[in-house]
């Protein structure tokens, strides 16, 4: 137990290092931005009616202080880190003066929900089918599935999502293709709202599952077809252990550990996929917010989304790594 805690602590320190590096990169990249939020707001205000030059000048000073732009770079960086700890990344431009963090927090549950459900589904289905395909190598159905998986696996998210919009939006319109819930349903804890959310989530989630499935299926099939040649599997078969038991607790159980590592490593990529999927299906999550913010030149929101993305992905990887020693007793928490 003590070993496990030291391992968890080490991994936690690494998590902090990842988050720190990620948000620092994000900060310094966004610092290079040629768009000044102060001038954008002044342009917006001054466009509506005439103001005296003194009023504009004092507005400029106030805004410069509000955005914290009146200090040198290193001080701005430390201010940023300090304010980041309390979850304050300054006001957004998209919906000035709503804090950028508030917009991100409104969008976050949608993305996290979509991502969690579709990733878990993809991973489970892909690994179970792949495991079966590796063990029962003569099954026609599973072989056919393998060919389909090889065909679909390399297609980028965007194209699959786009094809689904064409199929379910134009050719056979049975499911809603945009938004997170219907316009005429009021957001509340009611069954209609829940059904509406579910119906709207089907297509985005399905596109993520379809694209992701192939990787896990092929990976698992390759792992399992190596494991079935191991002596202990032959021995178990000779000793008359039931086939289902061999598949589930001898073969798949052993192959699942590297697949868990692969899941941790693939999370960053899966997250990129969600951004596209959300954009294609106009899903009200982080991806849509990010694209809107980029188009509006809103650096605070872009920075906030990037930072939250780094934290979310890094935390998910951390949690998966913590599961690792529990699943595989051979890994003695280094």
């Amino acid at each position: 137990m003590k070993d496990y805690l030291t391992f968890a602590l080490k991994r936690f320190l690494q998590l902090l290092a990842v988050v720190f590096t990620g948000i620092s990169v994000a900060f310094f990249v966004s610092y290079l931005s040629p768009i000044s939020p102060v001038e954008t707001i002044i342009g917006r205000v001054a466009g509506q009616s005439a103001y005296s030059p003194e009023a504009i000048e004092s507005l400029r000073q106030t805004l410069t202080e509000l955005f914290g732009l009146n200090v040198p770079l290193h001080e701005r960086y430390f201010n940023f880190l300090g304010r980041f700890l309390v979850g304050d990344l300054g006001p957004s431009l998209l919906a000035f003066p709503t804090p950028a963090m508030k917009l991100v927090m409104l969008a976050l549950p949608w993305t996290v929900g979509l991502l969690t459900v579709s990733t878990i589904l993809t991973w489970l289905i892909g690994n179970i089918l792949g495991g079966l395909a590796g063990y029962y190598q003569n099954s026609r159905l599973l072989k056919a599935f393998g060919v389909v998986a090889i065909g679909i696996q390399p297609i980028p998210y965007y194209i699959v999502a786009f094809l689904m919009v064409i199929i379910f939006g134009f050719l056979w319109p049975v499911l809603p293709i945009s938004g997170g819930f219907s316009m005429n349903v009021r957001p509340s804890w009611s069954p209609e709202f829940a059904v509406s959310i579910l119906r709207h989530a089907i297509l985005p989630a399905a596109s993520l599952v379809i694209v992701g499935l192939g990787t896990w299926f092929l990976g698992m099939r390759a792992l399992v077809s190596n494991i079935v040649t191991e002596d202990y599997v032959t021995y178990a078969e000779l000793a008359g252990v039931k086939r289902e038991r061999i598949v589930s607790s001898y073969v798949i159980r052993n192959a699942i550990v590297p697949q868990l590592t692969a899941l941790a490593m693939a999370l960053g990529g899966i997250f990129s996929g969600t951004i596209i999927t959300e954009q294609v299906f106009s899903y009200p999550g982080l991806g849509t917010l990010l694209v809107r913010a980029v188009n509006a030149g809103d650096s605070a929101v872009v920075l906030a989304v990037s930072c939250i993305a780094v934290i979310a992905v890094a935390t998910a990887i951390f949690l998966i790594d913590l599961l690792h020693p529990l699943l595989d007793p051979r890994i003695k928490a280094e």
Binding site: V29, P154, V310
Partner: protein, 285 residues
């Protein structure tokens, strides 16, 4: 080298299909050097013509001949993928071999950074770069940025092979013969990791081209450079699917899927070739 290629063609149907698919796409993109039209000019032909004998792939709503337009798009896209693959291979070989051979503190430090880079989601970072650079974000800069993020997986893979090589007899011989660590890595160990380098290079190209397409489709690259992504961007911009100019979307999508499938099959079959057990099983030994 040639005998490896012959064995792969003879025993591995996936490899053959992969070679054919990638070959077709490469040949198609090379046609751009013989192109009679300027890919950046618009309204040079009649817009919205369906595929015919005169316009093989039809023309788009911007009055461009899609056939020649796409040859340029694929040339740029393939070149982009290749640049990212080569640059990131250089980083991953250097880091992987150094960490594996030297071990100790060097290994721990390099792998610490490696793990950080694995965990950073690249897409928001790329969007951030676009946000800052806007239209100054040309293909070379994008390739450089992506190469800086595309190495960690493969560096780890190479390191694990180098760890095994370190304790082999020939490495000790080389050390006793007075070879410097750098020469041991590049002359003795590099040939052993080359198959991995090739197969991961294919996977890396799929990854980088996929990201480029996605970025461009959202309009987050320089949309005036013809690439597969920008071709789709303009098609969406003119609502090609809604107004019935289906060939503007379908043809690039089919071609890019062929590219991905070809690269993927090459990567998979080379991966299988690296593992002697599965190679022998396939050869029927």
């Amino acid at each position: 080298m040639f005998s490896v290629f012959r064995d792969l063609i003879r025993y591995n149907i996936e490899f053959t299909i992969g070679v054919v698919l990638v070959g077709v796409i490469v040949a198609f993109s090379l046609l751009s050097f013989a192109s009679p039209v300027d890919p950046t000019a618009i309204y040079t032909t009649i817009p919205d013509m369906p595929p015919s004998a005169e316009f093989w792939f039809g023309t788009n709503s911007r009055g461009q001949d899609l056939f020649w337009q796409l040859t340029f798009a694929f040339r740029n896209t393939l070149f982009f993928g290749l640049t990212v693959a080569v640059l990131s291979r250089i980083i991953s070989i250097t880091v992987g071999l150094t960490a594996g051979y030297l071990g100790g503190w060097t290994d721990r430090t390099l792998m610490f950074f490696n793990d950080i880079f694995v965990a950073i989601p690249i897409f928001p970072i790329l969007i951030l770069f676009y946000f800052v650079l806007r239209n100054n974000l040309d293909m070379m800069k994008l390739a450089l940025i992506m190469a800086c993020f595309g190495w960690p997986f493969d560096a780890r893979l190479i390191r694990s092979v180098a760890l095994g090589l370190k304790h082999r007899e020939f490495t000790r011989h080389a050390v006793f013969a007075g070879m410097s660590p750098a020469r041991i890595m590049y002359e003795e160990h590099l040939p052993y990791v080359m198959p991995i380098v090739f197969s991961t290079a294919m996977a890396n190209m799929i990854w980088s081209i996929g990201l480029e397409v996605t970025l461009a489709v959202l309009g987050f690259t320089n949309i005036n450079v013809p690439t597969v992504g920008t071709a789709l961007y303009w098609a969406n911009n003119h609502s090609a699917m809604v107004v019935g100019v289906w060939w503007w979307i379908v043809i690039p999508v089919v071609l890019i899927v062929m590219t991905f499938l070809g690269l993927f099959l090459l990567a998979v079959s080379m991966n299988e070739y690296i593992d002697p057990r599965s190679r022998l099983r396939r050869m029927g030994a």
